[in-house]
């Protein structure tokens, strides 16, 4: 709301500009800017959506009068001598859209330029002067907050004006001379032939005031906020009028504005008023009464304000005390303050006029111990691990383009949810994995010359549920797994190394098989790696990671792999990259697990390399499983020692795998003979289970 100080001074004596804007700022009208326009000063004030009373100069003047304790002078708007003649009748089709409509007709006006004072005041507040009739309607709106509209009476067809819903597809040419297609959620003012205005939003070109207009029809009405807002938003046709109707002008101003406008037109443009005025419908003007318990002010604000001062503030704001005792006072809320309906609203009025600087700022709250949640700690540890591994944290958008729709998510089969409007142009699918956004970010970093493109992100993805039964009880039927995504250059093993490091940091080891291994390392949680079939990742060079815990069904906890060519193409990525995605929700419990510590053995170890020739199809995992299945307490560690292929020496389809084992007892120093017998047992189980042959 831009306020002209010259204009404002009509209603209240003003202090210096700075002191005025400072006080208004601290009582609820935020000061945006001040600028000089000719001899005047225009002050832009931000008016919160509950304070429609301040969308006119009189409302702002009332605030000034209360804050600076100056009398408020509101001009009277009364009309005298009128010519009796019936002219137009108005019919309201939809009282829901328009509870009350009033109109006055002036015949014989002389349309022309506005007097200088009027044109200047409008200019100061940023409104272009049109002609004396239109200018008066704008002036009165900016004075009291009630929008008006002036029609050229002789261009209205027929004898009756109707306020009705627009017809579906009805066409309307607004005063900006552009055509709009309306629908039945909008409300129009119509003559016998067509819509002549979109109610509360904008008038039509056909009936606008022109230089040859002689008879005018001045509308002042109440329109419901929702249809006005809907029409203004849908047609992108917001106006000063729609802005005010959306917020609800003072009901008492409907009639006042009409009279005020008529008297100004008669004064400026001449003509004679036809009576009686048209008044249709019932003005929605209910006024609330609110009880205020005087002690409540201190209970809410934390500072005492004497009840006499509380009364003084409310009275000066226009509240009328109706009944009171020492403890409770009853107030009739002024018509322009329909935002005040409850005791707490009155307390806020007292507080904002008294000023919040009286509220103390040194009242302690009691100390309360809090703990970081396991989710917070989990995220923190994972993030620290990624940073230590050289990754920068990214924050990518939660929504991606539909071009990723053909790639499946590691986390569910339901199609991506669609948001309307799109988050940004071209991105309307709630993501089901972080990897596309991360790979794109990696590519754009690398192409802009960054020293590396190693990125991680910890964020949610969004999964629709396929079946109703999967709906979480109290939430929307959407699952939001918390994911860690990583992208980096290199091959599968770089990815697996990262995943393994993160799992190790969380106390999860790689198990050789899905069976719970013999407990030697502290806890009972493990992961295993299995070939993955995914369109995002290269088949044969990617894995799913299964999480195992005793007594719980194993579940997918992550995927790793080199990205597929097709997926890389979609992300405009050329260099081979590898991605890891790990589902963190569900792992929070690990943060509360204590590990079982054991004292390291003080006896020396014996390390042996076992060189086994096996079929190509025998995996390292199955060899490790076989060796661990010997139940040898002295087996401390099994490591992969290397792989070697030679068709001539090993045979076709064979490979030689070196298994490095470390043997150690916690009771004695192992002898070479003992070690040999353990190793022999290991070789023999590999032979029987996997057809392994010891390479001589």
């Amino acid at each position: 709301m831009i306020v002209s100080l010259d204009w404002l001074a009509d209603y209240v004596d003003l202090p210096a500009v700075d002191s005025l804007t400072e006080r208004l700022l601290l009582s609820g009208l935020n000061h945006e800017s001040t600028k000089s326009v000719h001899d005047d000063t225009a002050v832009d004030l931000e008016v919160t959506s509950n304070r429609s009373d301040c969308l006119g100069h009189i409302g702002v003047a009332r605030e000034v009068s209360v804050l600076f304790q100056q009398p408020l002078k509101i001009p009277t708007a009364s009309l005298s001598h009128t010519e009796e003649a019936h002219s137009v009748s108005v019919n309201i089709d939809s009282t829901e859209f328009c509870p009350f409509y009033s109109a006055r007709v002036i015949r014989g006006v002389k349309v022309g330029e506005s007097p200088e004072w009027l044109a200047r005041r409008l200019e100061a507040v940023g409104i272009a002067s049109v002609n004396n009739i239109v200018d008066v309607t704008n002036y009165v709106m900016l004075e009291c907050g009630q929008p008006l509209h002036a029609f050229d009476l002789n261009r209205l067809r027929g004898e009756e004006i109707t306020v009705r819903r627009a017809q579906e597809g009805e066409l309307f040419v607004a005063i900006n001379h552009r055509e709009y297609e309306l629908n039945s959620e909008m409300c129009v003012i119509a003559d016998a032939r067509q819509a002549v205005a979109i109610a509360g939003v904008m008038g039509g070109a056909e009936t606008e005031i022109r230089s040859e207009t002689v008879d005018v029809f001045i509308e002042s009405a109440q329109f419901a906020p929702l249809p006005v807002r809907y029409a203004a938003r849908t047609l992108v046709l917001g106006s000063q009028s729609s802005y005010r109707f959306e917020r609800g002008p003072d009901p008492a101003a409907v009639e006042w504005a009409s009279c005020r406008a008529v008297s100004l037109i008669l004064e400026i443009a001449g003509g004679s008023l036809v009576s009686p005025p048209v008044r249709v419908g019932k003005l929605n003007s209910s006024q609330a009464t609110v009880d205020l318990r005087m002690h409540r002010v201190e209970e809410v604000l934390g500072v005492s304000i004497p009840s006499q001062r509380q009364r003084e503030i409310l009275q000066s704001l226009g509240f009328v005390e109706q009944d009171s005792s020492a403890e409770v006072s009853r107030w009739l809320v002024p018509s322009w303050r329909r935002d005040c309906t409850r005791e707490v609203d009155l307390i806020e009025e007292v507080a904002r006029i008294e000023g919040y600087d009286v509220v103390p700022e040194d009242v302690p709250i009691t100390a309360l111990p809090v703990q970081r949640s396991s989710r917070e700690r989990l995220v923190r540890i994972v993030s620290e691990t990624c940073v230590a591994a050289g990754f920068c944290e990214a924050m990518t958008r939660s929504v991606v383009g539909d071009n990723f729709e053909k790639f499946n998510s590691p986390w569910g089969t339901a199609p991506a949810l669609i948001c309307r409007p799109p988050l940004v142009q071209g991105a309307d699918r709630l993501r089901r994995t972080l990897l596309p956004s991360l790979l794109e970010a990696r590519e754009s970093s690398l192409s802009s010359g960054a020293s590396h493109g190693d990125l991680f992100e910890i964020a949610h993805c969004y999964l629709g549920c396929d079946r109703k039964s999967e709906m979480p009880k109290d939430n929307a039927p959407i699952e939001e797994p918390l994911l860690l995504g990583l992208v980096t250059g290199g091959d599968f093993f770089r990815g697996k190394g990262l995943a393994a490091a993160i799992f190790e940091r969380l106390g999860i080891h790689e198990w050789a098989s899905e069976e719970v291994p013999k407990e030697h390392s502290g806890n009972n949680f493990g992961v295993t790696y299995h070939p993955l079939n995914s369109t995002i990742m290269q088949q044969g060079r990617s894995a799913e990671i299964l999480f195992h815990a005793p007594g719980v069904v194993s579940r997918r906890v992550g995927v790793i792999g080199e990205f597929s060519k097709e997926f890389m193409g979609m992300c405009k990525s050329e260099k081979q990259s590898v991605g890891v995605e790990i589902r963190l929700d569900g792992l929070e419990f690990l943060m509360n697990c204590e590990s079982n510590l054991s004292s390291p053995s003080s006896y020396p170890s014996i390390d042996r390399d076992i060189n086994l020739v096996v079929d190509e199809s025998v995996s390292w995992g199955s060899l490790r499983t076989a060796i661990e299945s010997t139940q040898c307490d002295e087996l401390e560690d099994v490591q992969f020692g290397g792989i070697w292929r030679d068709e001539d020496r090993l045979g076709r389809g064979k490979k030689s795998v070196i298994v490095s084992v470390r043997l150690r007892s916690c009771r004695e120093t192992l002898s070479a003979e003992q070690a040999n017998s353990f190793v022999e047992a290991m070789i023999s189980i590999c032979q029987t289970r996997l057809g392994a042959v010891l390479r001589g």
């Binding site: 934390g302 806020e348 009242v363 990214a394 958008r397 939660s398 990125l455 929307a476």
Partner: protein
């Protein structure tokens, strides 16, 4: 005089040692090493031999000390020769001489990553709040209208619910409309629905509003919202907590200022400013929890009360790190991200 003699004797020994060091550092082959050995350690005319003769000229009482010094230096010098001789022999055995390193060459690089500035800011804010007894909570980003609007006293006709001002999501087989949450107050409602007062929580995370992206807006951003529900809470507690927060965040004793404002879920509602380098800057919105909100989660507004506040993380982060355009936070350019070194403040 005898003392002088001892001092002179020791000085001779010292200068011999440093000469040996200098000479040997320049020796590059076995021949020159041998020449040096003869010059210093030669049995007939070696320098050491000459100094040894001086030992006998020392006074009786100085002889033991002189002898001790002589033996020590002799041992040092001999060991210097044997080290050099090892150095000389190595090349002949096929290994290279120890390479003299240009210590100004770069070391093997160890690269650390970085935590996103938005995360750093969130951690800092939540760490300060947890020192004040607030527990960090989170909740779903896709919300229903009850938690995003109705329970927060935002009625159906409120402009904030306009479909054009929210990201609504179409979900098959679901009868209620859902949307990407436009504020993290939703989490506060969820916590209040399941827990009884007293409560101190901060909810934080991503929120979404259809703003056109520019230097100060992005359709996805982060909010931190605090809620305290305890009997006898007043706006004085709110102001004091925010002042503690601002002082801890900015350092020093920072003043805060309330300006009246309007939010559906608080009454009274205020904008909070904090004084930063002599200027008032907007920190966020706050207020006493609206009785309608308390009633909507099943609390009795006559029995309990509390305050709530919300901070825009991007705005704080932009100011703290001197980032002029908040879109930079979402470009994910590593050249931008790697500059934000965690200062361990949270």
């Amino acid at each position: 005089m005898t003392n002088f003699n001892l001092d002179a004797f020791v000085a001779d020994l010292e200068s011999l040692r440093s000469e040996v060091e200098q000479t040997l550092s320049k020796v590059s082959d076995v021949e020159s090493l041998e020449t040096a050995r003869v010059a210093f350690l030669g049995a007939k005319n070696g320098r050491l031999k000459a100094i040894q003769k001086g030992l006998s000229k020392l006074g009786r009482e100085d002889k033991p000390a002189g002898g001790k010094q002589f033996n020590a230096i002799k041992k040092t010098v001999e060991s210097l020769f044997s080290q050099t001789s090892v150095r000389m022999e190595s090349p002949s055995k096929g290994a290279k001489a120890i390479e003299q390193i240009d210590v100004t060459l770069p070391g093997s690089s160890i690269r650390f990553g970085s935590v996103h500035p938005i995360t750093q800011t969130i951690r800092r804010v939540s760490s300060i709040m947890s020192n004040l007894g607030f527990e960090v909570v989170d909740g779903p980003e896709v919300e229903d209208q009850w938690h995003n609007f109705e329970a927060l006293a935002i009625p159906d006709e409120h402009p904030a619910r306009d479909p054009l001002d929210n990201f609504y999501i179409n979900v098959a087989n679901f009868d209620r409309p859902v949307l990407l949450r436009s504020q993290t107050s939703t989490v506060q409602i969820r916590v209040m629905e399941h827990r009884k007062p007293p409560l101190r929580i901060v909810s934080l995370g991503r929120v979404y509003r259809p703003d056109t992206a520019d230097a100060t807006h992005y359709p996805m951003f982060h909010q931190v919202e605090g809620l305290l529900i305890e009997p006898g809470t007043t706006m004085a507690h709110l102001k004091s907590v925010l002042r503690s927060f601002a002082s801890s965040f900015l350092g020093g004793d920072v003043r805060v200022r309330f300006r009246p404002s309007f939010f559906p879920f608080t009454e009274p509602s205020v904008e909070v400013d904090m004084e930063w380098n002599g200027r008032w800057i907007e920190m966020g919105g706050a207020g006493m929890v609206d009785p309608a909100v308390l009633a909507s989660v099943g609390y009795d507004p006559n029995e309990v009360c509390g305050f709530a506040f919300g901070l825009g993380v991007e705005r704080i982060a932009a100011r703290r790190f001197g980032v002029a355009d908040i879109r930079d936070f979402y470009r994910n350019d590593i050249r931008f991200l790697e500059q934000f070194h965690d200062r361990g403040q949270a």
